[in-house]
């Protein structure tokens, strides 16, 4: 899991967005309750804060071993307008 994924950010996230995501995640996983998770979040934040580390994380992003079904995550579903015709055909009970 790369830094962006850990903080739930997209590629183009700005500094403020990164900080907001970090604070949100820390609230979800405070260090005293889930120290391991917090450490991951902290590492991810440090990576994204350092311009060189961030660039590296972005360049090397993309996990080829993820389950293929996860490609659907966050993918906006395709919705095509087809006009009333096909809808009416269903109503007519064909």
């Amino acid at each position: 899991m790369d830094a962006l994924e850990i903080l739930g950010l997209s590629d183009g996230a700005g500094e403020e967005e990164i900080r907001a995501a970090y604070l949100r995640k820390v609230k979800e996983h405070p260090p005293e309750r889930s120290p391991e998770e917090f450490e991951k979040i902290r590492d991810a934040y440090e990576t994204l804060r350092d311009p060189r580390r961030r660039m590296r994380a972005l360049l090397l992003a993309g996990d080829p071993t993820v389950p293929l079904v996860s490609l659907l995550d966050g993918l906006p579903p395709l919705r095509r307008f087809v006009g009333p015709g096909p809808w009416l055909e269903v109503l007519k009970g064909k």
Binding site: P67, L68, V69, V82, P86, K94
Partner: protein, 870 residues
């Protein structure tokens, strides 16, 4: 039986017949129910039997409507109305439905204009509208109702809204439709319009809510299953052809794609390429229908997996319905996939894919060709290239380079070329530091100094390269050059502890050099300057200064000052043994004859002998602190320290034991290194991983597998403890001298190695190979001839299995060519002595002990008398 005794056909009582007929209706046996009701009415001819018959007709007509047999339903309805005019009221609701479904909308709605219309009839018409009317435009234009009739108004608004939401995105406000009341028979349409609008808006939750609220018996409910499929829900019953077509045209069934991808993921866990390709074909088809925007990405993922798994390309391309786009994204995915296999032989493939990625990404405009992104990429590629076994690199470069001898085409296989490019594009501290570390480990001092010079030129305010160059110059005894670098370091950061210690060390080195050159006046001046530094008075350093002073006064032949300096050294080190060891070692380092007589350990008192390990540890630590690690410790004292330590290590602290273990490693004294590491391992706690690493370093070379396992265990333990320094040391040992970078242990295996090593406290010099690691080590090491040779194994993996009697006799003339032998010594005897000496060196046996064993007691003393240096 009748009273006359004549048998008559049995007729069930009327109530029983009615119950039976109603049961048939309830069970959906409408035709049978109607036939029985007709018979019943023929026999009974009562009002009740007629009512039952009309109900059976109604049920039959309803079933015909459900089967879309509208003409038959209408005909039967007309027949019933003609035969039973009095029963029209009973058939009103079904009559309205028939009228609605058979497009006789006018007939259905006309009664609504009648002011005398009964509430029941009105209710029946409205129910029919609710359940059967789907042509809103026809209803909106129905001529039998006045234009201002609420039903026409509502139908008109809904028709407009329905066309709008199925044609384009609309705001939520546009679907409020206040003109359609909740009580209107068309109210379910309002819910449908809102559901469609929410779907296209992407508000799936709202869409589901609206769908849930649509009454199941209303006309719009016919769209609910299709819409649920569009939302990804799995339908319990198959969709009608029209519904399937709608789902496919308007966005596909995401659940179908999800199921196909899940099936493909499952197929990868098996080992049948056929199953994988079949699942891939289905997934690609589902993706093409449902999410064409994802198709390229999905095909790239599948192609990369197939490539790494070694599938034939042809069937893969066929299963995917065509070739995959080889863009920057694909190359990056491929590179990452090769990295993830954990197989060293895939690393060149990863480097090559990263190079392809670089070129494709520049072409696609991801980043400029000479920016920091490319530098970052080169650094990553360099860190990968470092892992390529050299023999593999040679083989690959031989095969990959079009013109033999040119490295440029496959530069990405060479770390130094990649570091060079990275640092040229983006010269920064971390990049140079990584490059310098690599050069120091792989290429030696001179290339490393060239890297440090480049670093210093690019980042003149960085301290590390200056200190590295200074230490290099000091090691070469080029003190003026070293002082020049020291001056630069002091300019950069004069108060940095490393710089301050560097001055101390350089000055001490300079004094030793003056002593070696027999220039006591220069040495004493420098010693006074050294003594003026505040850091020269920390720890045992004053003893070091006193020992140097002693050596200077030896040159001056000033006996009184010599005695005073010796006494001062003894006082500061709290004993004669450590003081003499220090003076002896420094005299040797300055290439002077020892001015002190070191008693043989055998001549010391038992308490003095027992104190040898502590004395040795103190002197070695002090020498290391002052960067005089080259001071010589007599072998007899190292032997004695090992012996004493084996019997009693309790008086030493962990740091002292560690110093002794390091001293044993540095002196190639396997026994001391092993004994000290055993004592350290017995202490347990946080330092045991460090002692395990010292064991890996100190074991004889022939025990390479055990050494590699110990180092790999340290890597794992250090990783768990997040001890990056130790991790780096162990990884370097594993990657460098042990040539076993691919060896990785699980935490459980690392703990097992530690346990087994702790259980082996004694160094078995001659035959002991240590613990049995066959259960852990399942031929994880690289078995190529080069790596085997580098680890000290026979290059041919079968060579070790050849029995001794088949081995060729060594060519003694060749063996001793250019080596002076005593005139009367036969070459085969010399060969035996040579072999015995080699084995003694391997097991850390002292020269004294070896000579006693070979030539009898006293042999070593005779050699000492002749002044031979050990």
């Amino acid at each position: 039986m009748s009273q006359s005794g004549k048998a008559v056909p049995f007729d069930p009582p009327a109530t029983a017949a009615e119950a039976s007929i109603r049961q048939l209706i309830a069970n959906g046996k409408y035709k049978t129910a109607l036939d029985q009701a007709k018979d019943n009415h023929k026999k009974q001819s009562t009002a009740a039997s007629e009512a039952l018959l009309l109900d059976a007709y109604a049920a039959r007509i309803q079933s015909l409507l459900a089967q879309n047999l509208l003409r038959e339903a209408q005909a039967l309805m007309d027949l019933v109305c003609e035969r039973f005019p009095a029963g029209r009221g009973r058939l009103e609701s079904i009559g309205a439905s028939v009228a609605a479904r058979t497009n006789t909308l006018d007939d259905l709605l006309r009664p609504l204009n009648d002011p005398q219309l009964s509430p029941e009839h009105r209710e029946a018409i409205e129910q029919a509208v609710r359940k059967e009317i789907f042509d809103l435009s026809a209803l909106a234009a129905c001529p039998v109702l006045p234009p201002e009739h609420p039903l026409r108004q509502a139908a008109s608004s809904l028709d407009r809204a329905f066309r709008m939401v199925t044609t384009d995105a609309v705001e939520e406000e546009a679907t409020r439709l206040p003109e359609v009341s909740r009580r209107s028979p068309l109210a379910p349409w309002k819910l449908l319009v809102r559901a469609i609008a929410a779907y296209y808006r992407g508000d799936l939750e709202a869409c589901r809510e609206q769908l849930d609220a649509i009454p199941a018996d209303s006309a719009p409910a016919r769209l609910v299953p299709a819409m649920r499929a569009m939302l990804g829900a799995q339908s319990s019953s198959p969709l009608s052809p029209a519904a399937k077509a709608l789902v496919q045209q308007s966005g596909g069934d995401p659940a179908a794609l999800r199921r196909a991808l899940e099936a493909l993921d499952r197929a990868w866990t098996g080992d049948s390429p056929r199953t994988v390709l079949s699942a891939a074909r289905t997934a690609v088809q589902a993706c093409r229908e449902t999410a064409p925007g994802l198709l390229d990405r999905l095909k790239q993922h599948i192609s990369v997996r197939c490539a790494v798994a070694g599938f034939d390309r042809g069937p893969v391309v066929q299963a995917l319905g065509g070739a995959t786009r080889h863009d920057a994204h694909f190359q990056r995915l491929l590179a990452r996939a090769y990295e993830e296999t954990g197989d060293l032989e895939d690393i060149p493939g990863a480097c090559s894919a990263w190079e392809e990625f670089r070129q494709a990404a520049i072409k696609e405009g991801w980043f400029p060709p000479d920016g920091t992104e490319v530098a970052t990429l080169y650094l990553h590629m360099a860190s990968l290239a470092c892992k390529i076994p050299p023999h593999l690199r040679d083989v690959l470069s031989g095969g990959m380079v079009p013109k033999k001898g040119s490295r440029e085409a496959v530069y990405f296989l060479w770390p130094e070329a990649l570091y060079q490019r990275a640092c040229a594009l983006d010269p920064h501290t971390e990049a140079f530091s990584e490059w310098l570390d690599r050069a120091r480990e792989d290429s030696g001092q001179a290339p490393a100094e060239r890297v440090a010079e480049q670093w210093h030129a690019a980042c003149p305010t960085d301290l590390e390269p200056v200190l590295f160059l200074m230490e290099g110059a000091a090691a070469r005894k080029a003190f003026p050059t070293a002082l020049k670098y020291l001056a630069q370091a002091e300019q950069i950061d004069g108060v940095h502890p490393q710089v301050r210690r560097a001055r101390l060390r350089l000055m001490a080195g300079g004094i030793l050099r003056h002593i070696q050159q027999k220039k006591p006046h220069l040495a004493i001046a420098k010693l006074d300057a050294l003594a003026a530094l505040p850091e020269a008075h920390q720890g045992d350093r004053p003893a070091f200064l006193a020992a140097l002073r002693f050596l200077i006064h030896v040159l001056r032949a000033d006996m009184q000052e010599m005695d005073a300096a010796q006494a001062e050294t003894e006082r500061l080190l709290a004993g004669r043994v450590p003081a003499k060891l220090l003076i002896f070692g420094l005299a040797m380092a300055a290439k002077q004859l020892s001015p002190v007589v070191l008693d043989s350990p055998g001549m010391l008192t038992p308490p003095q002998r027992a104190a040898i390990p502590a004395a040795l540890a103190r002197v070695v630590a002090l020498a290391k602190d002052m960067n005089s690690a080259s001071i010589k410790i007599p072998q007899s004292y190292i032997d004695s320290a090992a012996q004493q330590l084996a019997g009693n290590s309790a008086s030493l602290d962990t740091a002292q034991i560690q110093v002794l273990a390091e001293a044993g490693v540095n002196a190639d004294h396997c026994n001391l290194a092993y004994t000290a590491s055993a004592a350290g391992l017995q202490r347990g706690g946080a330092s045991e991983a460090r002692f395990l690493l010292l064991r890996a370093r100190g074991l004889p070379e022939r025990q390479f597998r055990r050494r590699a396992l110990c180092a790999a265990a340290v890597v794992q333990i250090a990783r768990q403890n997040r001890d990056t320094e130790l991790l780096e040391k162990a990884a370097n040992l594993l990657r460098g001298p042990l040539r076993s970078a691919e060896l990785e242990l699980t935490p459980a295996q690392a703990a097992e190695v530690l346990r087994k090593e702790k259980a082996e406290p004694e160094f078995l010099a001659r035959s002991g190979e240590g613990p049995d690691y066959r259960d852990i080590l399942k031929e994880k090491l690289c078995n190529c001839p080069e790596c085997r040779r580098a680890r000290g194994e026979a290059p041919d993996s079968f060579a070790g299995e050849v029995e001794d009697e088949f081995e060729d006799e060594p060519d003694l003339d060749k063996l001793f060519a250019g080596m002076p032998l005593p005139p009367d010594m036969p070459k085969d005897v010399a060969a035996m002595i040579l072999e015995e000496t080699r084995q003694a060196v391997e097991r850390g046996e002292s020269l004294e002990s070896l000579m006693s064993r070979l030539f009898g007691p006293g042999a070593s003393r005779r050699s000492e008398k002749k002044g031979r240096r050990r």
